[in-house]
Amino acid sequence: MAVMPALHIETLDVFIGAQPILSGVDLSIAAGERVALLGESGSGKSMTARATLGLLPPQARLSGRITVSGCDVTQAVALARPANARPAMVTQDTLAALNPLASIGYQLERPLLRRGRNRSEARAEALAILADVGLPEPRQIAARCSPELSGGQRQRVCIAIALACAAKVIIADEPTSALDVVTQAQVLKLLDRVTSVPGGPGLLFITHDLHAAAHLCDRTLVIETGHIVEAGSMQQVLTEPRHTYTRRLIASAASCGIACERLYA
């Protein structure tokens, strides 16, 4: 093995009660690689994210193997994982993803303090990260609570926290679907930028939006009812889909006004 993958999932099965949610999911993301997981609601794509993050509902059972930076975390919940085996998380519901009573500055500085910075370094670096993710007046933003920010600003803060804890991989579960198109484009551009720097984190981008996925990712997996039905490079899957489900997704996008074949024209 030349390079250890940032995230590696092998034959992951998840059951809730007797109902299979995921069956035999295989997935591997190298550092700096960007992979899309495409599927519709109920296909199991969010459950994949939760399993990876160690946030499955308590009644769920899983088998298979999940390793993050080479560390086996299959059965470990998020709070029980070692610090270097925690993927960062960016979700659709940005209001819920941040503590509404703690200031943005506090939530950014803590992970930096954990990484050995002293107080003033942490403060300065937090402001630098806020500026880096494109938030104007970082000092003001740092003093605010999350309900005071707009959805787009909150999503940037979530990405800033992911950067602050220097995670090896970011799991982004529908990060743009609650935002309007202009903000969506900005957030996608930001995700693109932070993952394309040398030594940057890998990205698992979970979405139903073919267009957003095509913009951001090099490789894609298509998931239907808990099974990966197609995998390949983004361009290949969108322009020469093999599985009928993928074809249906692309045809639907076309009748909603999105021309997938022209994405690579």
Partner: protein, 572 residues
């Protein structure tokens, strides 16, 4: 019009407070009692009142005036910190009340300490599990059981067990620290149970929020997460915590009575039974002020905890997803109901009123549970008591359901009355009712009704605003559905069943509240066989016939368990 709309909640609160002040101020007049006759009876025993002496006393106290002069006089006195002169002792009431208040506050502080300790112990396991990423949901059976035990019953139980049988603590009095233990426990345990249950649920719900995951992933320590969880959970609970403390003042009246503690509750109770209305007015006023203060302090703490998030409008409320009820969950309420039914079936054919046995006769074949202090059959009295207590509670529950639904449908207008009533323990309401119309079963029912509707109204109002915010309701005008038709179409169906279930869950609680009033002599009069009254009758003979005390205590405990187990079923 918009300005009036904005003012309605404030107006509603102001008008309610004014109405309560008027009610308390006019008590002597409402009661229709001749103060002169009361004073004469108190001061000169059974001497026959002549019209001349009565007139002289009236003149002397300035009581010859009508209700409005009386009211202005009383309110004027308030401004000068003069709460009037006792009809019984002829001395100003304020110094005595202040002294009693000091005793009561000490007791309440001790009881609150007990409650906090219990609450911390109860929510510790949930916090522990949450911080390790495990399921935070719990049945809360222990907390629920504590919550349901009424203070007067616990007092009687502790008196029997720890003061009489074991002799560890003095049974009554207020001389030293050892006197404070049993009353503080009796008062603090139920409050602590409720506090613990609320905290546990809130913490469990907070652990379901996604930011915990963000923080876990970002490497926050468990201590930091625990602190943030507490800070996130507490603000929404502060009003309820305030109410728990206020409820403790109501419970304190019974505890002070059982342990003969010279506190405010006992003073007020004494004033009520002696018809000393100035003392009663002063006591009720102080108790209400106390409730108001606690509410204000609780709200200030809430504001401090929220910090700048306060101005953000609605914060997301933590939600917890239900656990599926197991079939065995029905076992407890069914068993309890069966035991109560057997008790009633065994005792109902027997005679509860005739003294047919020797006083305090030991249990035997002809009297399975023995006889009480007057030689009456305990089994028969408890069984008949079950029928009358539960019957009264059923009436109270249905009446409060109707009032609660009606008030809840106009949430903004009903805001003031609901808030004030929610902060009033039934005992204080009963004191007002008793002052106005004397102790009776009807009076007790009115008193419990008068406060039992408020939680139902608050629940209804919350559901109504939730329903009104839903798209299918706000778009109804587009479909030609007007505001009046909306009530039977969407609002009542969404509100009625949950509120009915809530009301039925409160039935055992209402029964216990009625029993507490009976116990304090604010409800049905002897020889009625109401549960609280049976307990009060038996308490003086507790050393010689503990079974006569323990039987009604056991019946009340069964009632509590029934209420709790039903409530936990509905919660799922």
């Amino acid at each position: 019009m918009h300005h009036l709309d904005r003012l309605i909640p404030a107006l509603s609160r102001g008008v309610t407070l004014l109405a309560v002040m008027l009610l308390v101020g006019l008590l002597p007049w409402i009661s229709g009692r001749d103060p002169a006759a009361s004073i004469l009876r108190a001061r000169m025993g059974d001497q026959n009142p002549t019209p001349e002496t009565l007139a002289a006393i009236r003149e002397q106290l300035g009581l010859a005036s009508g209700p409005w002069e009386h009211l202005t006089q009383w309110l004027g006195g308030l401004l000068r910190c003069d709460l009037g002169t006792s009809w019984i002792s002829g001395t100003p009431v304020l110094p005595g009340i202040i002294q009693a208040l000091g005793v009561s506050l000490t007791l309440m502080a001790a009881a609150f300490g007990v409650a906090l300790l219990i609450a911390v112990l109860l929510c510790w396991p949930t916090m522990h599990r949450g911080l390790r990423g495990r399921d935070t949901r719990s049945s809360g059976a222990m907390a629920a059981t504590l919550t349901a035990m009424p203070e007067f019953m616990l007092s009687a139980l502790f008196l029997v067990v720890f003061a009489i049988w074991f002799g560890w603590f003095p049974p009554y009095g207020w001389q030293g620290p050892q006197h404070i233990v049993l009353p503080a426990l009796a008062l603090g345990l139920p409050g602590g149970g409720l506090l613990g249950r609320l905290l546990t649920n809130a913490i469990a719900a907070t652990f379901h929020e996604r930011w915990i995951a963000t923080w876990a992933v970002a490497g926050f320590t468990r201590g930091e997460i625990a602190r943030a969880v507490l800070r996130r959970s507490l603000p929404a609970l502060m009003p309820q915590i305030g109410m728990i403390i206020v409820a403790m003042t109501g419970g304190a009246i019974a505890v002070e009575q059982v342990f003969s503690i010279p506190g405010l509750g006992r003073a007020v109770l004494g004033a009520a039974s002696a018809q000393d209305l100035p003392a009663l007015q002063a006591g009720i006023l102080i108790l209400l002020l106390n409730a108001l203060m606690i509410g204000v302090v609780a709200n200030l703490i809430r504001l401090a905890l929220l910090g700048r998030a306060l101005h953000m409008g609605a914060l997301p409320v933590p939600q917890v997803h239900a656990v599926h009820a197991s079939r065995r969950a029905w076992l407890v309420p069914c068993t309890v109901l069966l035991i109560l039914l057997v008790l009633v079936a065994a005792g109902l054919p027997r005679d509860p009123f005739t003294s047919q046995f020797i006083r305090l006769q030991a249990p035997g074949l002809e009297a399975p549970l023995g006889a009480d202090g007057l030689g009456r059959d305990v089994l028969a009295r408890v069984a008949h008591g079950a029928v009358s207590t539960i019957g009264m509670a059923l009436i109270v529950t249905l009446v409060s359901l109707v009032i609660g639904l009606g008030m809840g449908l106009m949430p903004r207008l009903a805001l003031g009355p609901t808030e004030v009533t929610k902060a009033t323990p039934p005992t204080i309401a009963a004191l007002i009712v008793v002052a106005a119309m004397g102790p009776s079963a009807t009076g007790a029912m009115i008193a419990v009704c008068a406060v039992a509707w408020a939680p139902l109204a608050a629940h209804t109002a919350a559901l109504v605003s939730e329903v009104r915010a839903q798209p299918h309701v706000w778009l109804a005008p587009v479909l030609g559905v007007g505001p009046l038709r909306l009530i039977p179409r969407s609002i009542l169906p969404a509100v009625f069943w949950p509120v009915l279930r809530h009301a039925m869950l409160r039935l055992p609680g209402n029964a216990l509240a009625l029993a507490a009033l009976g116990f304090l002599g604010l409800g049905p009069r002897p020889p009625s066989s109401e549960w609280g009254l049976i307990l009060a009758d038996a308490l003086p003979y507790v050393e010689r016939a503990p079974l006569a005390v323990l039987t009604p205590v056991a019946a009340l405990a069964l009632m509590s368990v029934l209420g709790v187990s039903l409530a936990s079923l509905a919660r799922r």
